[in-house]
């Protein structure tokens, strides 16, 4: 998994700017993420966390700068499919395909993109379901599952493409509190498996435990990058301190 290792970061963002009309949601973002790293993005609502991670697989286009994934510039065109094969995404709202069974939600990508047979892809999907702890739900439809189970399917669906990078945008924010733990456990299990992970979350305890680095954003800019211990005990910027005071004491 780490052939190209330290020589080149797997994700490189250089001067990335994104505007919605006149409003700049991202301003001159520079960020490198090494292969295998787990990076947690923190910041107040509206600071541009979702926009940043959505630029990495071009669900959001950017106006200036470069996003490069594993040496490929992320842009409209032939190479985009290659980028998306390497970058998996887990959504806050799960976004499972309601017309497909749980098994086929996971198998679809491998069949259409990796050209596996349905039999092989379903076999693989079953293994992934077992890995996220819901092997027995394979033949149900998404709406028949609890939120926590649906999100675990969402994770399995992303894993089925064997991505080198996994993006998570608030994967537990839509869940009832009692289901947050089961999903975080699955994500924790993935950290350190060699897959590069970029996570947006409001679960501070989890962020501190799982992250190699914390990236703190505000108003479309990266304000601070630090190790979790440093960030949570003695953040450099006042903004980060204020943010921590707000989220930890509420």
């Amino acid at each position: 998994m780490s052939q190209t290792a330290k020589s080149q970061p797997i994700i490189q963002m250089r001067g990335v700017t994104k505007r919605f009309g006149n409003f700049a949601a991202l301003r001159q973002i520079d960020l490198d993420i090494e292969a295998g790293e787990v990076v947690v993005l923190l910041g107040p609502s509206g600071s541009g966390k979702s926009t940043l991670i959505r630029c990495i697989n071009l669900l959001e286009t950017y106006d200036e700068g470069d996003v490069v994934v594993d040496g490929i510039r992320v842009e409209e065109g032939r190479a985009l499919r290659q980028v998306r094969e390497e970058v998996g995404m887990v959504f806050q709202a799960f976004n499972l395909f309601p017309n497909l069974t749980v098994l086929d939600n996971i198998a679809l990508g491998p069949v259409r993109v990796r050209k596996l047979s349905w039999a092989a892809a379903r076999e693989k999907a079953r293994r992934l379901l077992a890995r996220v702890g819901i092997a027995e739900q394979a033949d149900k439809y998404p709406i028949q599952l609890s939120g926590g189970q649906q999100q675990r399917v969402g994770i399995a669906r992303a894993l089925a493409m064997e991505p080198r990078v996994l993006l998570f945008d608030e994967p537990t924010s839509a869940l009832d509190p009692e289901m947050v733990g089961e999903v975080l456990d699955v994500i924790k299990g993935l950290a350190g498996s060699g897959t590069t992970m970029l996570l947006v979350t409001h679960e501070m305890g989890f962020a501190r435990k799982v992250a190699d680095r914390i990236v703190f954003m505000e108003a479309g800019e990266i304000k601070e990058i630090a190790s979790p211990d440093t960030f949570f005990t003695r953040p450099e910027s006042e903004r980060a301190q204020a943010f921590l005071d707000a989220v930890l004491n509420h």
């Binding site: 094969e85 995404m89 976004n95 309601p98 017309n99 990508g109 259409r112 669906r157 992303a158 493409m161």
Partner: protein, 224 residues
């Protein structure tokens, strides 16, 4: 007693039945043809509206707006009576099929578009994120969901087209209504009109019922 022999005269009904059935057959043929062509035409228009280059998209929008605003009867009369002046003479059947198809296409185009629009953005994003092509995304994810949404309104539209076939009697097409008025004149009795009404009901009531069934099923949301 009088009412029965005037409006429900069995004798007259039996005698006019061959004429009515002949008209019914033409009504069904015209309606069926216009419905099928309208379903195809609408799909082409809807895809054009979503994926074609801008000039074509604007044309499609203009077409859809104009033909939803234009009364069917007006367009039918234009096709039959006005087009011959520019050298296009269509038979009554062809005129009616053309007019009904063109108008039905405008409605079905809107229905398809609404159906695809109803699929949440997150579905498209999830498909794109795993690298699906637009074609795969449409075939495997979007259209299977959109079809469930558009079936009730498409069925409703089909009912309207079938009803609008009665307007073809204006351009001298011997459809069910035309045959009934003819039979009424011959028998000097309105029973054939009642007979025609009953035949229309036999034809369309099941479809109306079907829409209700579809809608109830759709209301039970979610699966398949």
């Amino acid at each position: 007693m009088d009412i029965v022999s005037t409006f429900f005269n069995i004798d007259v009904l039996v005698r006019s039945m061959p004429l009515l059935l002949e008209g019914l057959w033409r009504t069904i043929a015209l309606g069926f043809l216009s419905i099928v062509l309208g379903l195809i035409g609408g799909l082409v228009l809807a895809l054009g509206r979503m994926y074609a280059p801008k000039p074509i998209r604007l044309l499609v929008i203009a077409y859809v707006d104009v033909f939803r605003a234009l009364p069917v009867l007006v367009w039918l009369v234009i096709v039959y009576y006005a087009l011959p002046f520019v050298g296009i003479s269509l038979s009554p059947f062809a005129s009616a099929a053309t007019a009904l198809t063109m108008i039905s296409s405008a409605y079905t185009a809107e229905i398809y578009r609404a159906g695809i629009d109803a699929i949440p953005r997150g579905q498209f994003e999830a498909g794109q994120a795993i690298g699906l092509s637009t074609f795969d995304l449409m075939r495997d994810v979007v259209l299977p969901q959109a079809i469930r949404i558009v079936i009730p309104p498409l069925t409703n539209n089909s009912i309207n087209v079938m009803k609008d076939t009665a307007l073809a009697s204006v351009v001298a097409m011997p459809d069910l209504l035309k045959q009934a008025t003819q039979a009424q004149a011959l028998a000097a009795n309105p029973t054939p009109l009642i007979g025609a009404a009953i035949l229309y009901l036999i034809l369309l009531l099941p479809l109306v019922r079907l829409v209700a069934v579809f809608e109830r099923r759709l209301g039970r949301s979610g699966r398949r």
